[in-house]
């Protein structure tokens, strides 16, 4: 590694690396609030979108509190912009920590991407160039964030549609470099791996084999939209079989990992997502039994 010693060991390196698995969860969506609280479905945990609850008060926080009383919760953000060349937004971090104080989440995650520079926000998960310079920059910022939050964060691989001429390594090498240097955890989005492997024509299994398995704290699963020559990560449809196969492959390599399904559009009744989650349970049951 070119930048050994550039980053001081943060406090969290002293704590055990991975946290216990939460089992099988869903993304918390407003359409399902009442159903969840009334029917107490067979869902082990919920992932909440941090920004949706970074508001002063009212219904969103009321229901968040109710869900937290009944289920373990993890916080997932979209605006940390950990890869931005602009300084870290301290106001955002303060609000994030304040929300974490309220939620007491099992963990906090965001994306390995950038969302804007010069005070602007594009509200998209924009890809980073896979270079030593960028990896060093990101790792330094992850350490800052982890020190501020007092815990390791999870970084998620994003779906991407373009790759840079400047990149000098693969995405999985880039992720590995950052996670080792910053001593952070990973949120492996298996659908995003599939989408990016399709869009950039790489081997999805090589990606899974290439990231440090001891750092994978959580898995995301979702549906997407295939346009023929490329795929858009839309989170608006059921998970397709090749992504389930990749999930099975991941578990065979990594073992039991907290898994959840993201659905952000065309949100079906909760029952349907619970049924889809059962597929994940069944796959995990089969793979982990075989491994044992």
């Amino acid at each position: 590694m070119l930048f050994m010693n550039l980053i001081d060991k943060s406090k969290h390196t002293l704590t055990k690396l991975k946290l216990p698995s939460l089992g099988f969860g869903l993304g918390l969506r407003t359409d399902h609030y009442l159903d969840i609280l009334e029917s107490k479905p067979n869902i082990d945990w919920f992932e909440v979108l941090s920004e949706n609850y970074m508001v002063p008060g009212g219904k969103p926080l009321h229901f968040l509190d109710k869900i937290c009383e009944n289920y373990p919760v993890a916080m997932h953000g979209v605006s940390l912009s950990i890869g931005s060349a602009s300084p870290i937004d301290k106001g955002y971090l303060r609000d994030l920590r304040q929300l974490a104080d309220r939620v007491q989440p099992a963990w906090i995650s965001d994306h390995l991407c950038w969302t804007g520079v010069h005070g602007q926000n594009i509200h998209d998960l924009l890809p980073l160039p896979y270079t030593e310079e960028t990896a060093k920059h990101v790792a330094e910022r992850v350490v800052q964030v982890q020190d501020y939050l007092g815990r390791r964060i999870l970084l998620e691989n994003v779906s991407s549609y373009a790759s840079y001429v400047d990149s000098t390594m693969t995405e999985w090498e880039f992720i590995s470099l950052i996670s080792e240097k910053a001593d952070c955890l990973l949120l492996l989005d298996v659908n995003n791996i599939y989408v990016s492997s399709y869009n950039h024509q790489f081997d999805a299994k090589a990606f899974i084999d290439g990231v440090p398995k001891n750092r994978i704290q959580q898995i995301h699963l979702a549906g997407h939209h295939n346009h023929g020559d490329y795929i858009i990560d839309t989170h608006d449809a059921p998970i397709i079989n090749p992504v389930w196969d990749l999930y099975a492959y991941t578990l065979s390599r990594v073992g039991a990992v907290s898994t959840m399904i993201e659905r952000d559009d065309h949100i079906p009744p909760l029952k349907e997502l619970v049924q889809e989650l059962q597929i994940a349970r069944d796959i995990a049951g089969k793979i982990l039994k075989a491994a044992a």
Partner: protein, 255 residues
Amino acid sequence: MSHLAQLQADFQAYLIDDIKGVAFKNRIIDDIKVGVNKRLGIYYDAYRFRIIEALATAYPKLHSMLGDDLFESTARSYIDQYPSTYRNMRWVGDKMQTHLLKMLPQHPIAAELAVFEWTLSLAFDAEDAPILTLQDLAEVSPETWADLKFVFHPSVQLLPLEWNVLQIWHALNNEETPPGVAQNSEPYLIWRRDMNSHFRSLEATEYTAIQLAISGVNFGVICEKLQKNTTEEAATMQAAQYLSSWLNEGLITKI
């Protein structure tokens, strides 16, 4: 500027204006399968679609009133005019009133409908606070009423409107054809109760009284101000009725 900073500045410039930022294409790997134009087009379109969707969520009745095409073109020019500086999409539409006054000056109803919807949304997720009841007031000795000052719930807002926004809002809410636009100068009270936004019109005297109460003057002064066109007794009765309804509606958090 570092390589990364330059790359991101160029990418962002391209997303904001793909003609001016065209040189950025050279930084992306081109290929036969998809091609650089389509690849960058995905990001260019997603930037706009995502914010248009957020604006449609923030302004559902404005969307209905303008129709899909005019709403979309208004939203696109809004994005060009006011690039988001917020981490949270919740706030991206906060300049819509200003934008509509410039974009559609011949239709001031559009800006008023927007400010009405935005105010409803501010009430929806305003800070939480405990609510006082009539029972709490009953515990206060009547001799000290004149000195009472009131703290209103953080969701409480007063909105003077010049047009028949409410009639149009109700019609659109019921998926009916809205009435024609007409001037209708009336102030409105907007607040949150039982986790939902509420609103009602205020007649002139109550508007004066609640403005005074919100500004922090005491009950005695409110009664005095209401005496302008009536007796002291009638003004006090009127102020007490207002106070009672404000408490019943969950508007007051502290005395």
